[in-house]
Amino acid sequence: MPENEILLEVKNLKMWFPIAQGIVFQRHIGDIKAVDGLNFFIRRGETLGLVGESGCGKTTTGRSILQLYRPTAGDVYFEGQNLCKLKGEPLRRMRRKMQMIFQDPYASLNPRMTVGHIVGEPLEVHNILKGKDLRDRVMDLLEVVGLNRYFVNRYPHEFSGGQRQRIGVARALAVQPDFIVCDEPVSALDVSIQAQVVNLLEELQDKFGLTYLFIAHDLSVVKHISDRVAVMYLGKIVELTTREELYENPLHPYTQALLSAVPIPDPVVEAKRRRIILTGDVPSPANPPKGCHFHTRCGVMVAGECDVIEPEFRNVGKEHWVACHRVK
């Protein structure tokens, strides 16, 4: 496996959802700009963390990369092929290489299917295995994710949240993908169970050389699992760098506020910390502010620049991209 090989490259990705009005004739009156021009890449074998608050477009990013939504504009290159240009059978074949783990382990498993069926379905759909081979492979997969191989005939309701999330992981692994989008895989779990699933994901990455896009709103978990981290705000990436650099030297005012808001489980540290309290709420993505999207809540905003000109997402040093006028 060559070092630094770029597995996935996203160029100017946009995903807008139309807002329509009218009962009989639907008029197009605007767009929700859920994802509005993203540029980044993921190297083979690395984990890119994607953090941001609810509604900032993290999940939409993951889904439009996998072409679960067809992006409004932009390109997604996976192993050199542009997924946005693929259709039908060629796209379906590419899907074998990219899988997804969903947030809600209660909603993402069909309650009427057995575990064997759920985990085996991708293998059937892609015509990889049949009959006894399929069953054996499913049982092996269950073991890989730390479940008993004889659970194949059980139904999802017989399992706890953490176990269900393991079933979701087994399903994603079934087709031996290179790339997995993990969409808030531990957010719905209790802390003691969360650590079990995080450890499992790390073990599987080492074992199968997987590449992850790890979407989460919990910065502590993202810091733990990621090699590099991208911070999103209102449809745009505002900062992207290695995890050490991000946590030691955050440049964007939003990243700084976000990091300061994360509680640390240590009362001695907490007593000494200074918190940057952001005022107000995240504006609507249907009508984002002009210029820098963050200027309405920013403490270092300069009128006439930040509220007029959109900052460029630029490289300010070794592997450190940031979109802010105030960063020199």
Binding site: S192, S220, D281
Partner: protein, 327 residues
């Protein structure tokens, strides 16, 4: 400092078709005036039910408070009749709930909902109540409160709705504020706003706070004392600094080890607590944590330990001394 609330041997059960669920298995704790008590534990450990029982908000049936006392200002909340408890609830003890989306009534204006407690408990007329409501919303940092007071909950964002909930809770200057996971549904930056707000209000008004959460991080920055709950029991109770510096129950220890920390130096492997929390219907006879515990000895499987003092103002329910050696 005077004791504000004293809970003794509280036990709450739910009588369901599948069997009797012991949600709270007999817990005792107390709270001083103006103190902040954090209650931590995972889902289903009984942290919400323990305070809902004190507020007498348990649905009966299927629930029932089978034993215990809860002394508040010299009176037992658990033996009060409906009328008496209603005069306490929302007046002397107020509550903020987890989900600001569902705990406001969607068909009533914000004015109607905030004014209600003022009219009921403080005998204000509509005009006075409205004026006070606007002041309260203003105080809680809702912009243009005078205009927005006639809005409906759906016109507010999650953080703003939680502010409205806090305004309702603080409207009668309660002596005790119970916050049941008030920031769990919110983003971290909004969570920081709410914590900052409650801390400020608490200092200004001298309100005691019980803050329920599953987040050990939130508790660290907020509480003075902490109760750790597991499967319906308080397993450890201590001052906040003591608890984090010197945890004495294997469950507390496990929780702290399984958390990824933002200020951790290197990427260390997390140490999860293996296994699952027990089914509250078929509770094993011994310590409820024993099946998942690294320190478990034979005695743990047959006899449930009681809370015992292990240090000054520090109690833990464990047969084993986790700092080394046997007790």
């Amino acid at each position: 400092m005077a004791k504000l609330l004293e809970v003794k041997g509280l036990k709450t059960q739910f009588f369901t078709q599948d069997g009797v669920v012991t949600a709270v298995g007999g817990i005792s704790y107390d709270l001083n005036e103006g103190e902040t008590l954090g209650v931590v534990g995972e889902s289903g450990c009984g942290k919400s039910v323990s305070v809902l029982s004190v507020m007498r908000l348990i649905p009966v049936p299927p629930g029932r408070i089978v034993a215990g006392e809860a002394w508040f200002q010299g009176r037992d909340l658990l033996t009060m009749d409906q009328e008496e408890i209603r005069s306490v609830r929302g007046n002397k003890i107020a509550m903020i709930f987890q989900d600001p989306m569902t705990s406001l009534n969607p068909v009533l204006t914000i004015n109607r909902q905030v004014s209600e407690a003022l009219e009921l408990h403080l005998d204000m007329d509509k005009k006075q109540a409205r004026k006070r409501s606007i002041e309260l919303l203003d105080l809680l940092g809702i912009p243009e409160a005078a205009d927005r007071i006639d809005d409906y909950p759906h016109q507010f964002s999650g953080g703003m709705r939680q502010r409205v909930m806090i305004a309702m809770a603080m409207s009668c200057n309660p002596q005790l504020l119970i916050a049941d996971e008030p920031t769990t549904a919110l983003d971290v930056t909004i969570q920081a706003q709410i914590i900052d707000l409650v801390t400020r209000l608490k200092e200004e008004m001298g309100t005691a706070v019980i803050w329920i959460t599953h987040d050990m991080g939130v508790i660290a920055g907020l509480a003075e004392r902490v109760n750790v709950m597991y499967a319906g029991y308080i397993v450890e109770s201590a001052d906040v600094k003591e608890l984090y510096a010197d945890p004495r129950h294997p469950y507390t220890l496990g929780l702290l080890r399984s958390l990824p920390r933002l200020d951790a130096e290197r990427r260390e492997k997390l140490t999860p607590i293996e296994g699952l929390p027990p089914d509250l219907i078929d509770m094993p006879p011994g310590c409820p944590f024993a099946p998942r515990c690294d320190y478990a000895i034979e005695r743990c499987l047959v006899e449930n330990p009681k809370l015992e003092t292990v240090a000054r103002r520090h109690t833990a329910a464990c047969w084993v001394d986790v700092t080394g050696g046997k007790r």
